[in-house]
Amino acid sequence: METLPPESPPPQQSLPPDSLKKVAPPPASLPEYFAAAKISNPRAFLKSFCKGAVSIPSNDDLRAIVESPDIEKCIAPRLVCLLQNIQVASETIRNSLLDLAELLLSHLGHIRQDADSPSLSECRAIASRLLAPGGRKPKKLQPDLFGCFLLLAYHRNWLTPPDAVALLDFAFPVQRTKKSQIVENGPGPEDMVLHTPLKKTQIAPLLVLNRSWTIREAANEKLLRESQSQISELTERVSELSATKADLNSRVESLEADLREKDTRISELRQQLDDLQTAWLHRHDEMKSRIRGFLEGELTRWLQNASEAADADPPYLPVVQQRIRSSLNGIQSQLQWLSSD
């Protein structure tokens, strides 16, 4: 599809030699287009058609064109050019052109106008008639009428793109190519049908390319299917892994919260431990200092004073008594403190 051909040039073979010398005014209607001595650019004509510069042809106009004596020489090739550029035309113009092609072919007796859509086999039969009309002596190929029919069938959806290519292949049989001759990036069937001049010299290599394209397309489709299958599997796997990841994330969060809680608890317990240790150490210091202070301080002072008073000459008994009494009271007081919590 990348190799879109340039705008279809007008067919060179039917131009009269003097038409190049003077510039004729552009055709203002479809009959004028067909009656003109020089063929106009079909794409430009269709664009001006769409802009309203060209009037929509009536059925009588179409019939008049069909009844023209130069059907095969002038009408058919120009109609093929128009049909090959029909994608730039509006729906109405498209229908007019397709009606014209249908009218032309029915006028020539190749198709029946009021019949249903022909099947592929009927199309082949029509193509056979167009390519080799009945008679003992085979007639010359009528590629323009075949082109009209092919494009009509394609645009009327009587043929699918592969059917259209098959019909082309039928019309322009070529020798089968080797696989090694398959060229990458060949044109698609639509391009081939719509944009290639209907000459065997041009159609034949394109059909070879198309064949290789078809094989490659099939391989690609197979690869695509496999890839899609793999993608599906992988997507499923991703989903599973995402679910697992979400579970694990949730688990991690839960564990982190748990860790934080435990850290807090550890801090609390550590603080409690510190508090208990501090309290215990302080209690221990307090007890030691209190007892030591009492023993080294008051009790020693009292007893020493009592001892000195007892050793004095004469002994100072009231002091001895008082100090011993104070000592006893002091000891009692300390014992009371020790027995408290």
């Binding site: 409690q272 302080h282 209690r283 200092s289 209190r290 004073n305 004095a312 009231p318």
Partner: protein, 640 residues
């Protein structure tokens, strides 16, 4: 960072932390008393050669009672903080900072030696006496840093004692709520001094209302009296005893015996004192044997007790409140247990209002620890006001402003203008109200400082901008600076006696490390302008030197410019009555050419003819009458 409380006292010092004895139990104070005798550490440093020895061992070397330097011993080095001269200790000059640092280092090492987990003992709330001023606070912080201690915050001892006493109670929050707008008296009678502080619970802040101290009635004085009494009694028993023949260590043993007797007499009616071999003689007078009764102790120390208790009435009289207005009296210090003193306090306050806690010796330190634990902050007790030209006051730093902790400072700046620059000097007087919350017209005020600044004497009034700034640092010292923009003079002065209280509701304000933002400055300016509008006229105590301020906050305050010059610059200004009076005073009389002062003093015949003044004869007779009524006063006036 655990912050502990430290009571660096005059006679004893002790640190306290807050701990939880066991999970679920309420927190309580853990007082780090001496591990040797379960008492606070004596604030004594003994220089044994170059080796400093601190605490009980140093105190045991004391041969005398009292505070200060005794040979190579320094007792209560805190009292020397802020002094510009060094202490001479046994011939060696030592700075008080270094001596204090020895005690603080000793206290910190003692605390660290306990190996309490999580306690680094490097930041403390320090308690200080109310009388300790800024320079001493600054040196105390310096000493602490030398001992690797950071002063997180200072707090006054009575405030710490009150908070420690209340915080130890289970329902202390409810109790604090009950005490709103009530007064409490902290009666701290220790070994060195008696300090009374009247405190008020006011608007979430505990502030000191009035403080009174007496260094002449400390516990040492009682011991000294007792020693003298015992010696006298011994001399009576042995008229031939020669006290010059004291045996070795006799004096400290006698002091120790008397201290013990004083304590024992709080529980006994009488006690016998015996000191063996007090005199180095062989007779019966060698040993001291004296019977001492409580009555005798009371008699010997009656005047001291009376003087101490009298301080209460002096304080209350000065505050103008009756004893009944005191919600409770918190008795702390070792002397509160002396029966005569306790009895005196009971007579004044009754048993319900006298709180003498069992932890009286350590309640200050415990309060400091609670303050550190609860994160309480100091606040301005009274506004730092600036006298305005309209004779009203502008609050420069508001009462209740939270004061900075370590490493912080607060600042405020104002732009002012001189209303009368003719003498080339702008006068800034900073003051505070005498009583917290009493800054109405007529309320007494106390002056912090006065700052004068050179200004451009040729500039028109209200033209030259004067930038005034006050900064308060973590030592609670206010630095006041002023700068004149035209004259480019710069003056700075420090205020060391700011009055501050303790915020009880834990609210805080933003502090700055270095510089205020301009928005903050602007908001402060606008706040001050509001206050200017609400400023009130006040009175000073009689005898005070009165400064007439010539600075104004507003550049358009032409009402405050002296009347005799305002017309020169503002011809269409409508003079106030005061300005008219001023203008008239200096304007010479169109008849006699003299001004009103001389006309009123000496009289004027020409003015008298028109009935505008006294004649010279009438003025002379009036002067004579006045002289007869108050000759002395008149003489003084004339001499002036």
């Amino acid at each position: 960072m655990a912050i502990f409380g430290l009571d660096f006292g005059t006679t004893n010092s002790v640190a306290t932390i807050i701990g939880r004895p066991s999970p679920g139990q309420p927190e309580k104070t853990l007082v780090l008393t001496s591990k040797e005798d379960f008492r606070p550490h004596p604030s004594v440093v003994w220089y044994d050669g170059a080796q400093p020895i601190v605490g009980r061992k140093a105190k045991s070397q004391l041969r005398e009672l009292g505070l200060g330097v005794f040979g190579d011993i320094v007792r209560s080095p805190k009292i020397f903080l802020g002094s510009p001269i060094p202490i001479n200790v046994s011939g060696v000059n030592r700075w008080a900072v270094d001596v204090v640092a020895e005690i603080l280092r000793f206290l910190r090492n003692d605390a660290l030696s306990r190996n309490y987990p999580g306690q680094s003992f490097d930041h403390a709330v320090f308690t200080i006496p109310v009388s300790m001023l800024g320079r001493a606070r600054r040196e105390l912080r310096e000493a602490a840093l030398k001992a690797d201690l950071h002063v997180h915050q200072f707090v006054h001892e009575p405030l710490a004692a009150l908070y420690g006493h209340l915080r130890g109670q289970q329902d202390f929050k409810a109790r604090l709520a009950q005490l709103q707008d009530r007064l409490a008296l902290v009666f701290d009678w220790g070994g060195g001094t008696l300090d009374l502080t009247l405190c008020k619970f006011s608007g979430g802040t505990l502030v000191q209302v009035l403080n009174l101290g007496d260094v002449e009635v400390g516990g040492d004085r009682f011991d000294l009296r007792l020693v003298e009494f015992v010696k006298k009694r011994h001399a009576e028993q042995h008229p031939n005893a020669d006290w010059s023949l004291l045996s070795e260590n006799a004096e400290p043993r006698l002091i120790q015996a008397c201290e013990g007797a004083k304590i024992d007499l709080s529980e006994n009616e009488e006690i016998d004192i015996f000191v063996k071999d007090i005199l180095a003689v062989s007779g019966p007078e060698r040993d001291l044997r004296v019977k001492l009764t409580r009555q005798e102790l009371d008699q010997v120390t009656r005047d001291l007790v009376h003087r101490g208790l009298k301080c209460i009435s002096r304080l209350l009289d000065a505050a103008g409140i009756p004893p009944a207005a005191i919600e409770f009296c918190l008795a702390t210090g070792g002397m509160a247990a002396v029966p005569a003193i306790r009895q005196g306090l009971l007579e004044i306050f009754g048993i319900a209002r006298l709180h003498d806690p069992a932890n009286a010796a350590t309640v200050i330190s415990e309060g400091a620890a609670w303050i550190a634990h609860d994160g309480l902050r100091l606040r301005m007790a009274k506004s730092l006001d600036l006298l305005h030209a309209g004779d009203d006051h502008v609050a420069f730093i508001h009462a209740g402003t939270e004061l900075p902790a370590e490493g912080k400072q607060i600042r405020n700046a104002l732009t002012m203008y001189s209303v009368d620059p003719r003498d080339g000097i702008a006068k800034f007087q900073f003051s505070r109200s005498k009583w917290p919350g009493r800054d109405f017209a007529g309320d007494e005020r106390l002056t912090y400082t006065t700052l004068t600044l050179d200004v451009d004497e040729y500039a028109r009034p209200l033209h030259e901008r004067l930038e005034v700034e006050v900064k308060i640092d973590h030592d609670l010292i206010a630095s006041v600076s002023a700068q004149s923009t035209l004259r480019a003079d710069y003056q700075e002065v420090e205020i060391h006696d700011l009055e501050f209280g303790l915020g009880l509701d834990g609210q805080s304000i933003d502090e700055v490390d270095e510089e205020d933002s301009s928005e903050e400055k602007e908001s402060l300016h606008s706040r001050e302008r509001t206050d200017f509008a609400q400023a009130k006229a006040v009175s000073l105590p009689s005898g005070s030197v009165r400064v007439r301020s010539n600075v104004s906050l507003s550049q358009h305050a032409w009402d405050l410019v002296p009347g005799e010059i305002v017309r020169k610059y503002q011809s269409d200004h409508r003079l106030t009555s005061k300005q008219r009076e001023e203008a008239g005073y200096y304007m010479p009389c169109c008849l006699c050419g003299r001004n009103i002062h001389f006309i009123e003093r000496d009289g004027c015949e020409r003015c008298a003819e028109r009935g505008l003044s006294l004649s010279t004869t009438e003025a002379a007779s009036r002067k004579a009458a006045r002289r007869a009524a108050a000759p002395a006063a008149l003489d003084v006036a004339q001499s002036i």
